[in-house]
């Protein structure tokens, strides 16, 4: 059940919401149980066979956390934590990486191992990370303790279950205990506005532009050489697709949670406006970056052990980030490329600081934004291409190393009529969180000038209603596709 699908919009969400508000607010436990049940139904709708796995994972992690809280001996606690983290990673590794590892062994020992018929359980990457962060936090603060219902709801709450944001217990669970499970009209309004903005990003922007990325990468995948223009067009289209798809998903998730009175952390902050790759990662999939920084990069030593060790830590973190996104060499290369970009960015920052160069002119920032975007585009090639051959084909075309005729199947004026305004949207317009800043849409404080603030009044309502009519219309032309991050 994709957030943008009709079964979700017309059946699941209304039932979940009406059922929730029908339970008197004083029965908070009943409200939590209802949300848990709705979330399990939501997950089971994809594939009921993986519900036991989800509960096994929750049960295992909750038990380990309980053991940690009762462990006074630091060494014992460390052993328990190591066991917990390893168990989570083994589970994730079995489902996500077994065949990739077998493929790797094939390559090394030059014989073919039989592949296992393993289907990746939806959301495993997300609920594994959510729970690892919880275990580490319990290890750090042995006084942490939540009830089993609170913990279960924290993990399974359907707005973030499938593709994040990767939330942390201290952000979410306290909200169950306070007044927050009593959403007010403003919560419904803000939630609905965020959800609809996200829906429009997905259905009106990301899905249509995906056609151009698919055309180019599909042709490259069928062995056809692509031209320089097509390669840039297809990759730019993909950059816009993944941005509007994932930021749309995040807006919807944040909006859904808000409808139930829960606020999530921000996950996107106009990343293509970043003036360096460091800033890009502070703006793109913010909750993943935060997870990797706090539970991988810092434990590895961060920047505390000198520049060389920092470089190694950055590379390890980004390579694992790539691997987390998908079991394939192209994802590892994508991570490695971003790691390299980060090293260059840190070096450049150090170089400038040493010389006291503090350029802040808008033209310098503009150049930096352009360079960062181009660097990100090159990396997206590895992310989008189904294999390295296709990536090489597209990259060669992008740098002008191959000549090929333009693909006949793309209507270029139409493509540019869509891509250029989307680029303008991504680069120039304020994001939804800023537009709704006065309603505190996310946990972080977000500032926005008064003239950019959107009021939830009748005019905004009419505009959103018109948008929803457009979504209904487009649904019949082009069926909704799953969110890209559901694959991870």
């Amino acid at each position: 059940m994709v957030f943008s699908s009709w079964p979700f919009l017309l059946i699941f969400l209304p039932i979940a919401l009406i059922g929730f508000v029908s339970i008197p607010a004083r029965y908070r436990t009943a409200r939590k149980l209802w949300l848990c049940a709705a979330s399990v139904v939501f997950y089971a709708y994809w594939k009921i066979e993986y519900v036991p796995l989800l509960f096994f994972s929750i049960g295992l992690n909750y038990t380990i956390a309980e053991l940690l809280t009762r462990s006074a001996n630091p060494r014992r606690a460390k052993t328990i934590l190591a066991f917990g983290v390893s168990a989570n990673l083994l589970l994730l590794g079995y489902f996500k990486y077994t065949n990739f590892i077998l493929e790797f062994f094939d390559m090394v020992v030059r014989r073919e191992f039989t592949r296992l018929d393993i289907l990746l359980p939806l959301a495993i990457s997300f609920f594994t990370f959510t729970q690892i962060s919880y275990l580490v936090d319990v290890y750090r603060d042995r006084n942490l303790h939540y009830g089993v219902l609170d913990y279960t709801l924290f993990v399974v709450f359907f707005p973030h279950l499938i593709a994040g944001p990767i939330v942390r217990h201290w952000e979410i669970i306290p909200q169950y205990a306070a007044r927050e499970l009593r959403p007010q009209r403003t919560d419904w309004g803000v939630g609905l506005a965020l959800f609809l903005f996200g829906l429009y990003k997905k259905r009106l922007l990301a899905d249509p532009v995906s056609a151009y990325a698919n055309a180019v990468y599909g042709a490259a995948n069928s062995g056809q050489l692509v031209s320089c223009f097509d390669a840039w067009l297809g990759t730019t289209a993909y950059a816009l697709q993944i941005y509007f798809d994932f930021s749309g998903y995040s807006d919807m998730a944040i909006g859904l949670a808000r409808m139930f009175g829960i606020r999530f952390p921000n996950n996107f902050d106009s990343p293509y406006r970043a003036a360096s790759i460091i800033e890009f990662w502070q703006r793109w999939h913010i909750t993943l970056t935060r997870f990797l920084r706090e539970y991988l990069y810092y434990p590895l030593g961060g920047n505390r052990r000198g520049p060389e060790r920092q470089a190694i830590n950055i590379l390890i973190t980004m390579l694992l980030s790539g691997l987390w996104h998908g079991a394939g060499w192209n994802f590892i290369l994508w991570g490695g490329l971003h790691g390299t970009y980060l090293l260059i960015a840190h070096e450049w920052r150090r170089f400038r600081t040493e010389r006291g160069w503090e350029w802040s002119h808008w033209s310098y920032r503009g150049i930096c934004i352009g360079v960062t975007f181009v660097a990100v585009l090159f990396a997206w090639v590895f992310f989008r291409a189904p294999n390295l051959t296709v990536a090489a084909n597209v990259l060669s075309a992008m740098v002008g190393l191959q000549s090929a005729p333009e693909l006949g199947r793309i209507n270029y004026p139409e493509a540019l009529q869509l891509i250029v305004p989307l680029l303008a949207l991504a680069f120039c317009l304020p994001n939804v969180q800023r537009l709704l800043a006065q309603y505190e849409p996310v946990l972080e404080n977000i500032s926005a000038p008064t003239f950019l603030r959107l009021r939830l009044n009748v005019v905004t309502g009419i505009a959103l209603g018109i948008g929803f009519f457009a979504v209904i219309r487009i649904h019949f032309y082009a069926p909704s596709s799953p969110f890209l991050y559901f694959n991870f």
Partner: protein, 341 residues
């Protein structure tokens, strides 16, 4: 560790969502839907030029079918049949009244079978040769000609559709088409045919499309064309198309009409010899076998060389159609118990 989060409801006191916000969303949505369906209703049955060619092709075929008094053979399918089979040749060689009932495949299996029901009588024989992509469709087609046709040429069919399908077809109308329909309501446009590959003026009396001679061929395609996706997808999902055919076969049995199936002519491609395509073919063959509808000919012989195709991988040249018809005649002679001349 960071402190617990801010209170969510604190914002309500400072800046609230007005009731107008919710009414704005609901009201504008309802108003737009009302306006849209009002305009749809206004131009229902108003002719446009866009689908006139398909309408005239279908009318000619229905007239031809109605003019045959005794038992007849109907070759049913989309444009692969229209361009790829010569009913005139079959009638002359088997001395059996034959109609090429091929039409625009974009009209979909549901509508094609709706037309066939109007054309057949007890004792007739029907040979189904649906293009592979039509199997992947539901009752409603995402096709501009289909939408235009239903609104402009066959509003009775539109009215008879179940409500969900009606809603779906109405939503498929593009804004320019909606504008044109409304404009034609007050200021009808000329119904002159635009010259195209599908040309009702160039149908012969048997329903065969002419004007597709090899000398006029525009298609320079070869094995590099993108193969038919439905066929190479390693099996088909159970779409309403299968149900529609099954229901039609039941109807023909109840009305003493014989039904056969065959493979539509298609430009050969290496992808069609892969396991994926073979799996799809076995599925279609299994489906017809389950319905006890015999299939005539073979897939291998229905794959024709690129030089025999006119402008798409389904549209044959006149010369190609002759070769394809030669292949079919012995099979048809068998099912009709006729001697070949």
């Amino acid at each position: 560790m960071p402190q617990a989060v801010l209170s969510c409801t604190s914002t309500s006191e400072r800046a609230g969502a007005t009731r107008g916000f919710f009414f704005g969303i609901g009201g504008s949505l309802l108003a737009l839907l009302a306006l849209y369906f009002g305009l749809i209703y206004l131009q229902l049955g108003v002719p446009t030029r866009a689908s006139i060619w398909a309408y005239q092709i279908n009318q000619k075929k229905l007239q031809r079918a109605a003019s045959i008094q005794g038992p007849k053979l109907l070759l049913v399918g989309g444009s692969a049949t229209l361009f790829g089979v010569q009913a005139e040749m079959i009638e002359s060689r088997l001395s059996y009244p034959t109609v090429n009932f091929g039409t625009h495949a974009g009209l979909g299996i549901a509508y094609m079978l709706h037309l066939v029901r109007q054309a057949v009588r007890p004792g007739d024989t029907v040979v189904l040769a649906f293009e592979y992509n039509t199997f992947g469709q539901g009752v409603v087609r995402r096709d501009a000609v289909y939408v235009d046709y239903l609104f402009a040429r066959d509003p009775a069919y539109f009215r008879a559709l179940p409500w969900p399908s009606k809603f779906q077809v109405a939503m498929l109308m593009t804004v320019p088409r909606l504008r044109k329909g409304v404009r034609n309501r007050f200021r009808p446009e000329s119904t002159r045919l635009a010259a195209g590959v599908y040309d009702p003026e160039k149908l012969n009396a048997y329903g065969d499309q002419l004007g597709n001679e090899a000398a006029k061929r525009t298609f320079q395609g070869d094995h590099r064309y993108v193969p038919e996706g439905t066929l190479t997808r390693r099996g088909l999902q159970e779409t309403p198309a299968f149900e529609l055919i099954e229901e039609f076969v039941r109807w023909t049995r109840a009305n003493n009409i014989r039904v056969f199936a065959t493979y539509p002519n298609i430009m050969e491609h290496p992808a069609y010899r892969t396991d994926a395509a073979q799996k799809t073919l076995r599925q279609i063959e299994g489906f017809y076998a389950r319905l006890q509808v015999p299939m005539i000919g073979s897939f291998e012989e229905s794959m024709m060389p690129p030089s025999m195709f006119f402008d798409t991988c389904y549209h044959m040249t006149r010369e190609g159609a002759v070769v394809r018809t030669e292949q079919l005649i012995p099979h048809l002679a068998g099912i009709l118990n006729r001697e070949q001349k």
